[in-house]
């Protein structure tokens, strides 16, 4: 569980995060949504420890990040997995090399133990015959799956994903969403996903936080988002005609 209390962050005098408090539960897919410039990425980078908040605290299962020593922070980071928007795979390494990298860096496993673990996670993300290919030789969807495999290879307690299905076709995007949700539930991970994708909101939004201008405007689940009367949320989520019609049908059905 990640507990966030009154996080504030400014850049060059501009307040980007204006006191966000929330809780991300274990075993759930927690989504952060909001328009571009709403502070989602800065918030995610604060959770990852890449940015230090000006004020407020972030607790990872009771451990307050700002109170930890450098060594403890490093150890905590090894319990985090991250899937970047552009996958951020290492160009110079093969798929297998990318997934093995955290094991080589932080464990004392033998070569065969590492190989078993790499095979297991690549199998788990349904990548069986891409071991020796380089990132430039595989599709965007496969790159995302490699990024997920790399993120989970160390058995993380926390998984962060920044726009995990951006640039993917709708079918692959749903596969990636479902894969993240399955992994979250299977390994009891606290997953935080930064997304614009409304399909993700509807499909895997077990908890959703809506940010607007650096403030938490609304929070709830994908079931509650249909019922909300919050104008900012409905304007954002139901901005397309299709989603407006879906919501209208839902309201009519409810009445």
């Amino acid at each position: 569980m990640i507990e966030v209390e009154n996080i504030q962050k400014s850049f060059d005098g501009t307040r980007v995060l204006k006191g966000i408090s929330t809780t991300f539960n274990t075993g759930q897919t927690n989504l952060i949504i909001g328009q571009s410039g709403s502070g989602k990425t800065v918030f995610l980078k604060c959770l990852l420890g890449l940015f230090t908040p000006d004020e407020g605290t972030i607790c990872y299962d009771g451990k307050t990040y700002s109170d930890l020593t450098d060594d403890e922070k490093r150890n905590l980071r090894q319990e985090m997995g991250m899937v970047f928007q552009g996958s951020a795979l290492f160009d110079s390494m093969t798929v297998e090399g990318n997934v093995r990298f955290p094991l080589e860096m932080f464990t004392k496993q033998s070569a065969s133990e590492m190989q078993d673990r790499v095979d297991f996670v690549l199998n788990r993300v349904n990548l069986v015959d891409a071991h020796h290919k380089f990132p430039s030789e595989i599709s965007g969807g496969m790159q995302k799956r490699v990024a997920i495999a790399r993120a989970i290879v160390m058995n993380p307690k926390y998984l962060f994903c920044d726009e995990p299905n951006s640039g993917l076709d709708p079918k692959t995007a749903i596969l990636i969403d479902n894969l993240i949700q399955e992994i979250t539930e299977e390994y009891d991970i606290t997953t935080v996903i930064n997304t614009h994708d409304m399909n993700s909101v509807m499909e895997i939004g077990q908890k959703i936080i809506f940010l607007k201008n650096g403030v938490k405007e609304w929070e709830g689940s994908n079931k509650e988002i249909f019922k909300t009367d919050n104008e900012a949320v409905t304007n954002f989520v139901y901005s397309s005609d299709l989603f407006k019609k879906v919501r209208q049908m839902y309201i009519e059905e409810r009445n």
Binding site: R77, Q78, M80, F84, Q85, A88, P102, M105
Partner: protein
């Protein structure tokens, strides 16, 4: 003010490079990869340039000797002094700032743009140690290619002088052995080692802290070349005064 801030950031970067070392097993392979890329990968171009520059120095010297009072062995002597004191350590370092420096800036800059450096940091890896330290260690072998450059440069001078009819082989060889001061080679190696550190760290600094996209990677490479060259030229002046002045 920006320059002062940049110097401060550079000093902090150097401190970070030597903190939290990467596992030796991994570092060893990174160092070998960088030796292959930065040292052996540069050998060909430096040999090629050294040979012809040595030749041109010999021809220019010979063509400018108009007085009968000037001994013929001056061609070999001047070629040796030019190559050992300045061409090999300094001019080659400027060439390396273009070849190796732009490679380092663009490779690290691309990793920054594509969030690969963020990925390393999120994992808890000291990205500066992982990326920059192997380059510093690899470039400590830079004097090796400078020795080759010295040899090939003088060889180029001998070929141009003798086969071009500007000097006899005996005069040229007498010239290159005349008044040889071994400390000049030490001076060249000291400069080379200092320049090697500059060649590894300034381009890394420009790549690591760059902001923006693909176009900015190109701009960072150009800026890195300019600053690496400027620092090499300034340090060349300071070291020459300190060691020979």
């Amino acid at each position: 003010m920006n320059y002062v801030a940049s110097i401060g950031s550079y000093a902090i970067m150097i401190k970070e490079v030597f903190k939290k070392p990467t596992k030796w097993r991994i570092m060893k392979s990174l160092i070998l990869k960088e030796i292959d890329e930065l040292i052996f990968g540069s050998l060909g171009i430096l040999v090629f340039i050294s040979f012809f520059i040595g030749g041109v120095v010999a021809i220019q010297t010979a063509l400018n000797i108009t007085s009968e009072l000037i001994p013929k062995n001056l061609v070999g002597f001047a070629t040796r002094q030019s190559i050992i004191l300045e061409f090999a350590p300094t001019f080659c370092s400027i060439i390396m700032a273009g070849k190796v420096g732009s490679y380092i800036t663009s490779s690290i800059g691309t990793m920054r743009v594509t969030e690969q450096i963020d990925a390393l940091e999120v994992m808890g890896v000291n990205a500066l140690n992982y990326l920059v330290f192997p380059k510093i260690v690899a470039l400590m072998l830079y004097p090796f290619i400078i020795v080759v450059s010295m040899f090939v440069g003088i060889l180029g001078g001998w070929v141009a002088a003798t086969f071009g009819g500007h000097s006899t082989s005996a005069d040229f060889i007498q010239g290159i052995t005349l008044d040889f001061i071994p400390f000049h080679v030490t001076y060249a190696f000291v400069k080379t080692l200092v320049f090697a550190f500059i060649l590894a760290t300034i381009p890394s600094f420009h790549g690591f802290y760059m902001k923006g996209g693909a176009l900015d990677v190109g701009k960072a490479s150009t800026t890195s070349f300019v600053w690496t060259s400027i620092v090499i030229v300034i340090l060349n002046g300071i070291l020459t005064q300190l060691l020979l002045g």
